[in-house]
């Protein structure tokens, strides 16, 4: 290895300093909001958000959000329902299509791909989509959040690429020689080998459902049917002063009620915590799908 020149040494130092700053820019807002959520009203009034660790952490905001009678509880339930039913159906619709389109010898494969590709380039737009969901009678139901997004064609194609790229055709041919029929091939060979991509895309769908908010904003009117994200949005939007959304929180008898800033911060934490908690364990699956196939330049 040749010795580094002075210029290269300076460059290496600058690179590392720059990246440390980048990491701080990502972390500081998160840490700041977590500590705000734990700060008592009087301490917040004194010190504002320049607090990294509250002197006397309190859970008042969380008690108000998660106490009985709070809309956040039903929100959590609705979100969990949306994620579980939604993701299950997503995979039930996405995987079969991906598998069928991965078959090189399928007659009309180009026609089907084109049929799907057109929807990736052009869409009906906001108003016609809304009218469809409304006419189907889905307003205020969890199906309004699940049915319109059953298949993400981009992710379906990523799945298809994985199946084409990592499962050799010879495997199927050998199974046919052994007398296996198509359902058996699917269940015994293709499905087990596709598990990595099913897990990855499944996680993407789950995160999509957990984080989606705009569809709930336009399709769900009753607070009791809302998932977490639109509730968070309402608390952020109307929180200060008007308190319209706070009437749906648990009633608590605090000597010192939490200020709206800490309530909002706590709500952000409640909404994000599930994702952050599973993130370290499943991060590699999140990333894997993007890496599938690599970049063949």
């Amino acid at each position: 290895m040749s010795k580094l020149s002075t210029g290269e040494k300076v460059f290496a130092v600058l690179t590392h300093v720059g990246l440390v700053i980048v990491v701080l820019i990502f972390l500081i807002p998160v840490v700041s909001v977590i500590s705000t959520s734990l700060t008592s009203g009087s301490e917040f009034a004194q010190r504002g958000r320049l607090i990294l660790f509250p002197r006397r952490p309190v859970l008042h905001a969380y008690q108000m959000l998660l106490g009985s009678g709070s809309v956040v509880l039903s929100g959590l339930r609705n979100s969990v329902m949306r994620v579980s039913i939604g993701t299950g159906l997503n995979l039930l619709f996405t995987f079969p299509l991906a598998y069928v389109l991965a078959r090189r010898k399928l007659y009309g494969r180009n026609a089907i791909t084109t049929f799907i590709f057109i929807t990736m380039l052009f869409s009906g737009g906001l108003v016609p989509n809304f009218i469809l969901v409304e006419r189907l009678g889905l307003i205020d139901s969890v199906w309004a959040l699940i049915l319109p997004s059953l298949i993400n064609p981009w992710w379906m194609l990523i799945m298809r690429n994985f199946i084409m790229g990592s499962i050799p055709d010879e495997l199927e041919e050998a199974a046919i020689v052994d007398g296996a029929n198509p359902p058996q091939i699917l269940l015994k060979i293709i499905l087990p080998l596709s598990m990595p991509i099913i897990a990855t895309i499944g996680l993407w769908y789950a995160v999509f459902h957990w984080n989606a908010w705009f569809d709930a904003l336009i399709y769900i009117n009753t607070p009791a049917h809302m998932p977490l994200q639109p509730i968070l949005r309402n608390i952020l939007e109307y929180g200060a002063g008007t308190y319209t959304e706070y009437q749906n929180l648990a009633e608590m008898d605090f000597a010192e009620p939490p200020p709206s800033e800490t309530l909002r911060a706590a709500m952000i934490v409640v909404t994000t915590l599930p994702i952050v908690m599973v993130y370290p364990f499943i991060q590699k699956y999140f990333v894997k799908g993007v890496m599938v196939g690599g970049i063949k330049g």
Partner: protein, 332 residues
Amino acid sequence: MESSSVEQLQAAQGIRSAGKREKHDLGYAWKCIKRDRFYYLMAALPLTWFLIFRYLPMYGIIISFKDYQPWMGVKGILSFDDWVGLKHFKAFLSSVFFWNIMRNTLVISLQRLVWGFPMPIILALLINEIQHRAFKRTVQSISYLPHFFSMVVVAGLLRAMISPNGGLLQEVIMRLGISDQPISFLTDPRYFRSILVGTGIWQGVGWGSIIYLAAIANVNPELYEAAMVDGANKFQRIWYITLPSISYAIAITLIFRIGGLLNAGFGQILLLYSPSVYQVADIIDTYVYRNGLMGMRYSFGAAVGLFKSVIALLLLIISNRVARRVGQPGIW
């Protein structure tokens, strides 16, 4: 459902490979379909979904040529009694808001492109320079994290940071003496767009860098060794080896970004804007949302939406053609 350009880039590889011609012969076709009936059966349900949830709304665009009212129901969509031709398009094009909305959409989008497009490339090049593996992994994990936050959460984090009531950024600004009172970032037209662009980069830069890191990892190390023997320094190696070898990823990402030029970030703007910044923040999508959907002017909203979809499609076709002209493979 929005997909990041990283995912689109991966998916695009599938579209291109499906370009082969097929034999057109009825007898042959029937034989194939009979042989593969299990597979057609399996695809039937998903394809029906596309028909209902993707193609029906496309047919629904027809209301933009009519005077459809919310109470008319399905019959109103199917009948041709209230045909008004291009009335809604003319109304939009001659509206006093038209130029402002178009300008905002394009300016915000171009600012995102100019500032946001190079960022993931720069981040990838920086991360690639780290030798220490644990530090490298930490930086990557932390930079991907905001991609998994919802847009609402990111808007909440931003509002907390810049809140005039004790927001961290405001405190820092005042202690540094940059301003002696809190700056109203979200209601001041001078700052609003920069806040949008900055927040968008914060959320997307890490995830966006993945694709470039993957491309860099695929570069043959012998190229670097040969360059070093020839006396190329670090910057020359980046300029002449790393960047050219990720040019394919750069090109495809750019096609999608130009094709999506009219998508100026609807969700984020809806979460952050207010009437005091409409003059710089109101884009086509927010306009359709407020007037078409909230204001129940369904036909007008559908017309503006169609206007946008057609231009977006043209942009994508043009950028794809340009990419192929300059020797990049393009999306199709």
